[in-house]
Amino acid sequence: MTPRQKRFSMIGLGLVALGIASALVLNAFNSNLVFFFTPTQVANGEVPKGQSFRIGGMVEAGTLTRESDGLTVHFVMSDTVKRVPVTYKGILPDLFKEGKGAVAQGRLSSEGTFVASEVLAKHDENYMPPEAAEAMAKAKAAGKQSSKTLVVTP
């Protein structure tokens, strides 16, 4: 091979490798995006069927119940306008509490219950997961807020 051919074959090989790599990355990226929805959107049926997504809002006070196995919990997630029942089996994070913000990831069952595979509640007491804060801010902006006692802190 002449040096010229050699250089071209190298550049060609490099481009092919980069192309394959980018295709792989973008494909993986596309199929692993998790979208976020508010309880209002869930109630309005705007969520994808049979696909995993995230939902955020306030854990409504007094709704947390535990089954006798000590692990399966039921609670209601709300953005002060709409309510979505959630089921989760597992140990809840330390900062999960009634009346506090939380984010859950999972799928919507055919009965309209959100079956969570993961529940997130992070950082300190005053911290509200941004998604949860936004869900409530949106509901508030829509002018349908029923309760005035909630303070939305971003």
Binding site: P3, K6, S9, M10, L13, G14, A17, L18, A21, S22, L24, V25, A28, F29, N32, L33, V34, F35, F36, R54, R66, D69, G70, L71, K89, G90, I91, L92, D94, L95, K122, H123, D124, E125, Y127, P130, E131, A133, E134, P154
Partner: protein, 663 residues
């Protein structure tokens, strides 16, 4: 009074940094030796001033001076002294001070170990570092001041986030920052080379030990953080592909690529332009990482809105540093030259492939980390990118890189022959494939990923053995010992670091393949068996810690009827922030970890409990430590010291300024 001294020291440091960032660079450009000579005392002076500021903040924490806002926000009178001192870097303002302090520490190191450098080079390096430091000091003094007063003083502080009250967290940020900031030296070398227009093998040899040291610190820092997450977060994971973790992983990937590319520039004079670009990239990513994590951009994009000045400053600073250095690169890189050519099958080509793979991997992490932020900032909706994305991307990207890792060190520079490489490696390949296919059956379970992981680890080790044998047979010398002694340390460093990767891969593969996790309800006296170990729950008792109250469970662990250990996981409640924390109990071992953590109290003394059996998990961090040790071994190589000495002898007398020490 003391905080004001700290503040004053920072202001003085800012002035010194302004001088250090301009005068020596101008001096180097105009060939004025006395202006260049300003760099060294300025750097040392700055180190001293920032050290004073750092000590002042430490003093304020030690004395519980709650009239300082930062102290009041991050400490409490009940917080033990060692955590009060660690609280210096517990939040945004203080960690920036730590960053700046470490930067001046590296500057100090450069003034101490740069006697062999040409004067102009040293002046430019210190000048560039001075400019970086100028940016950070300006940021601290304008919008992020750790010495800001709180008047009237708070009666007591808000306490350190309980998650950070842990020995791992005390060490993790300084280690990580030593790594992040260490790349500033490589960056300064690169910018200095661009300014000076000469980038030769000597330049690469000077930068190599600095880059490797930074990389070692970063490796240990990331491992510490991962270990901390494992035992402190209470759910037993060691890597979550969390944006905060990604922020530290990206500079690591770029730094790893840089180390390999520097080797080519050093040994063969090749990849010059690419090396410079990687040095810029590694440091830019370090800056991005620091700001992403510490400015609160990641936990919430709205943090920008709460303090728009801070966000704006960060964006402008990043734009100046990254944009400026890339502009300089575009302008000056053509002068640097490309270096010698090489064949399609050669060590250079393999290192190039390794570099491309590492950079693509880095790019994929960057995409997964920043894309959700951009989308949110533009108001296009909220998304998150989960661990499955990173897992799917990393396995296919790293597999060829690791395959090449076995061949590369055996291949010749410039032109290697495929048949002879195949001859050398056929046993390694055969043995790895057969063992990797059969071993999982012996262990009791076969999955493709299990075999692949074991194959990669075995491939690294077997090729390393062949490599060492090959190296020894080609050396002259009578006995094996004398031949062993004549192999340079940098070579052993490389072999050791590569074997560290193998150990790491074994850990990851075995944990992914064989870990057993069980969440269950346990009544007092009840027992459960996982992974051959029986855990008996003897109930939980309350007790009081210095700044928390806790429930402490007792678990008696037996295997085949023999008692193995007793484990005491805790559920703590930190009073000041009224925050609950899970302290897992872990019984570590070479071949497995037992992991117990308490969930929630249920009726009649029963608890929900997590029981994990994690085989080989400690190999993950062990592998990281071995990698770092390999790096340390490499920098102790004689060739760096010899090169320095030769350089001094050859250095023309003109470049020595009047009064500079001639050693």
């Amino acid at each position: 009074m003391i905080p004001e001294i700290g503040q004053f020291a920072l202001i003085l440091a800012l002035c010194v940094a302004a001088v250090q960032g301009t005068v020596p660079i101008y001096g180097a450009a105009s060939g004025n030796a006395s202006l260049m000579a300003v760099a060294k005392p300025a750097a040392r002076g700055q180190f001293l001033l920032v050290l004073i500021a750092f000590c002042c903040l430490g003093y304020a924490f030690a004395q519980k001076d709650f009239s300082v806002l930062y102290v009041a926000a991050n400490a409490n009178s009940k917080l033990p002294l060692h955590y009060r001192l660690a609280a210096i870097w517990g939040a945004h303002e203080g960690s920036l001070l730590l960053w700046t302090f470490i930067l001046t520490l590296w500057m100090m190191a450069v003034t101490l170990f740069s006697k062999h450098l040409p004067e102009a080079m040293r002046a430019r390096i210190l000048g560039v570092m001075g400019l970086v430091s100028l940016g950070f000091l300006l940021f601290m003094l304008t919008v992020s001041n750790p010495f800001e007063r709180l008047i009237p003083a708070a009666p007591d502080g808000r306490d350190l986030n309980p998650l950070l009250q842990d020995p791992g967290m005390v060490m993790h940020p300084p280690m990580l920052y030593m790594g992040y900031v260490g790349f500033s030296v490589a960056f300064a070398f690169a910018i200095a080379a661009l300014l000076g227009g000469n980038l030769d093998a000597a330049w690469a040899r000077w930068s190599r030990p600095w880059t490797t040291v930074a990389w070692c610190f970063l490796t240990v820092g990331i491992a510490l953080g991962s270990g901390w997450a494992y035992y402190e977060l209470g759910w037993g994971g060691w890597w979550f592909w969390d944006p905060v973790e990604n922020a530290s992983f990206m500079p690591w990937l770029a730094g790893t690529a840089l180390i390999h590319s520097l080797a080519v520039t050093d040994k063969r004079g090749g990849f010059k332009v690419w090396t410079v670009l990687l040095a810029i990239l590694a440091f830019s990513l370090s800056l991005l990482g620091t700001f992403l994590v510490r400015s609160g951009v990641l936990t919430s994009v709205h943090a920008f809105a709460t303090d728009p000045k801070r966000g704006l400053f960060i964006l402008v600073f990043l734009a100046i540093v990254i944009g400026g250095s890339l502009l300089l690169y575009a302008w000056r890189a053509p002068r640097v030259g490309l270096g010698g050519g090489f064949d399609l099958v050669s060590r250079e080509a393999m290192l190039l492939a390794n570099n491309v793979l590492l950079v693509v991997a880095m790019g994929s992490v960057l995409l997964g980390t920043l894309y959700p932020l951009f989308l949110d900032a533009l108001g296009l909706g909220k998304i998150s990118v989960g661990p499955p994305y990173f897992d799917t991307v990393f396995v296919p990207l790293m597999t060829p890189a690791i395959f090449l890792m076995g061949i590369g060190p055996l291949a010749q520079w410039k032109k290697a022959s495929v048949p002879s490489l195949a001859m050398q490696l056929r046993w390694a390949f055969g043995a790895s494939v057969v063992t990797a296919l059969l071993l999982p059956f012996v262990l009791g379970k076969w999955t493709p990923l299990l075999s692949l992981g074991l194959l990669l680890a075995l491939w690294i080790v077997t090729t390393a053995v062949i490599n060492v044998r090959e190296r020894l047979t080609h050396l002259e010398g009578a006995g094996l010992l004398s031949r062993l002694a004549s192999v340079p340390r940098s070579y052993w460093g490389m072999i050791l670091a590569h074997c560290g990767i193998a150990v790491f891969i074994v850990g990851v593969t075995m944990v992914k393949g064989f870990e057993v996790e069980q969440d269950l309800r346990m009544n007092v006296g009840e027992s459960a068996t996982i992974g051959g170990y029986t855990f008996q729950f003897d109930g939980a008792k309350d007790f009081v810690g210095p700044n928390y109250i806790a429930a402490r469970g007792t678990f008696r662990v037996t295997k085949d009827g023999r008692e193995v250990t007793i484990m005491y996981p805790e559920k703590r409640r930190y009073m000041v922030q009224s925050q609950t924390m899970t302290e897992a109990a872990i019984d570590s071992g070479l071949l497995r970890d037992l992991y117990v953590s308490l969930g929630e109290p249920l009726d009649a003394g029963a608890w929900s409990v997590r029981l994990y059996h994690k085989p080989f998990i400690d190999w993950i961090w062990g592998g990281c430590l071995i990698m770092a040790l390999g790096g340390v071994l490499a920098i102790t190589d004689r060739r760096y010291r010899l090169a320095w000495r030769r350089e001094q002898e050859a250095a023309p007398a003109v470049s020595q300024p009047v009064g500079a020490p001639i050693v």
